[in-house]
């Protein structure tokens, strides 16, 4: 039985949540196409095979090699290419994260196969697929002429859910042949900058736009974010002004967020910001302009000045928390 092979993205032995989306997509696609779901994990096995099983993977290829004990795009891409050659899957799926797209591109280059990044819809049989352009504000339908179809699924396009009938998650050792030279792109060092919640994992993100007015004026947003266990984000105009670091930027060229609640303060909602925020489960827009894009697209809005409203919300939160 031919298969769908899922690239499991991991960091130091932990599976990336994005891979749950790839596995969920692969399971549903495989069911409609009559294919088996298999997966490949990298590095020493650390429970990821069983985890992939809960999302429906039948066989999990455990690729182990000294070069795979930390991330390196060339070693991972070459390993994936060898696994594809040996197991001849019909379709290979990753989640369209930085690493997912990079490793798929490396494998595609090595096999000289096409690779379709950030799919939002795939026909059973993979005859046609729809992919994101412009960070998701435009879609492209494509066909693929390829023996094995390589694709990534757009982040947040498919909601992750464990399988009703879990897969066996049976481990199969896979020993790639890796030239020593491939170690040239392996991670050599890491700098940990934040512990705790990050922009992409925070349950609440408070975004500030041009309307905040200055770098200093973010202090009330920071205070409220801290009270709610959230993080402060910002728009592209803000990083271009030098008010916040680029790592805080939400949007097409920044971070894609998907919090329970996004509070967008003084953000007009240009399309390149919207595509980074639209996966939020709920959006509250705070803006003086009741016709701003962010206001009309949000589920909830307050029409008013963030400079007086944010401190008032903070005071009300403290009151209810008894602080």
């Amino acid at each position: 039985m031919t298969s769908v092979l899922v690239l499991i993205e991991s960091d130091q032995g932990s599976m990336a949540p994005a891979s749950h989306e790839a596995l969920t997509f692969a399971r549903e696609f495989a069911a409609s196409a009559g294919l088996a779901v298999n997966a490949i994990v990298f590095g020493p096995e650390s429970g990821m095979a069983a985890e992939a099983g809960t999302y429906g993977a039948a066989t999990v290829h455990v690729a182990d090699h000294p070069q795979l004990d930390d991330f390196g795009p060339e070693a991972w891409g070459e390993t994936l290419a060898q696994a594809i050659t040996q197991t001849a899957p019909a379709v290979v799926v990753a989640c369209g994260t930085d690493r997912g797209n990079e490793v798929m591109a490396q494998a595609a280059a090595r096999l000289d196969l096409p690779f379709v990044a950030n799919c939002t819809e795939v026909d059973p049989g993979a005859g046609e697929m729809t992919r994101s352009q412009w960070g998701g504000s435009l879609l492209e339908r494509v066909t693929l002429d390829a023996s094995t179809k390589l694709l990534s699924v757009a982040p947040h396009a498919f909601e992750a859910s464990p399988a009703a009938a879990p897969g066996a998650g049976m481990m199969m050792p896979f020993a790639p042949t890796l030239d020593d030279s491939l170690a040239r792109t392996k991670i050599t060092d890491r700098v940990v900058l934040s512990s705790g919640v990050t922009l992409s994992t925070a349950p609440v993100v408070i975004g500030g736009g041009r309307g905040v007015g200055s770098a200093e004026a973010y202090a009330p947003l920071e205070e409220l974010a801290a009270l709610l266990g959230g993080r402060v984000g910002c728009s592209r105009a803000v990083t271009n002004n030098g008010w916040r670091p680029h790592s805080d930027q939400v949007g097409q060229t920044g971070t894609r967020i998907a919090p329970e609640l996004y509070i967008a303060c003084g953000i007009s909602g240009a399309i390149q910001h919207w595509v980074g925020a639209k996966a939020s489960k709920n959006i509250l827009a705070i803006n003086t302009d009741n016709e701003a894009n962010m206001v009309t697209k949000a589920g909830h809005a307050v029409i008013g000045d963030l400079h007086t409203l944010i401190p008032a919300i903070t005071a009300e939160v403290k009151k209810r928390k008894g602080l």
Binding site: P73, S132, E140, R190, L199, T253, V302
Partner: protein
Amino acid sequence: MRILTLIKRVPAPGARINVTDDEQSVNTANLGFTMSPHEECAVEGAVQLIEQHGGESTVLTLGPAEAEEQLRYAASIGINQAVLMDNGGEDWDPQRTAKAIGDAIEQLEAEDGPFDLILFGNESADSGGFQVGVRVAHRLGRPMVNGIKGIEVSDDTVTARREVDAGVEVYELPRPAILGVKEGLNLPRYPTMKGRLASKKVEIGAVAAVADAGGQAKVRLLRPVETVSETVVLGTDENAAPAVVDLLEELGVL
């Protein structure tokens, strides 16, 4: 040191993107053009590295003749040489694009010597294929890392920093190397009047754009379905604070 930066002419991001009647391309009637934001930072990065280490920088694009505008913009902020691969503005698939660019780099290197560093944008702002740089690197047999927001160059190596969720990953690549860079690498400068004038005199070199189509074919472009949500207005000004906090409680985020 010699640095090559690859850029792509794209409609300016920010505006609503509409599709032509034949659903084959973006309707650019009311749009301005720019290079992809990641690539603006790549160009600025190349200029800064040459300022620090000396040498020469080149910018190369595959696109329509009008992409001369983006090549001259790069020259106006300090890039020394510009090369256009005119493909008539056709929308080429990633394999075809990478093949043509790989051929062009081999030709440029045969004429003027190897590039120590080649910079791509992490992905183009429009088609967003996330792969052309990686394919070119594999073809040239060079190390490549994507998603880079910090670059330092020494005699033998290039140190590249990649921002991840909770910190930074560091990579040490032997030269010559290829990097895919992201916005945030730097804050690109604006061209000076002197730079603008000088860029008008830069001779635009030409390399033929020839490659067979790859395995991905476009059927059509379409706009995503927009879910229209009715916005519930919780109030105006600070009087709305209790209603906002009610919402926080309701969503379980208080």
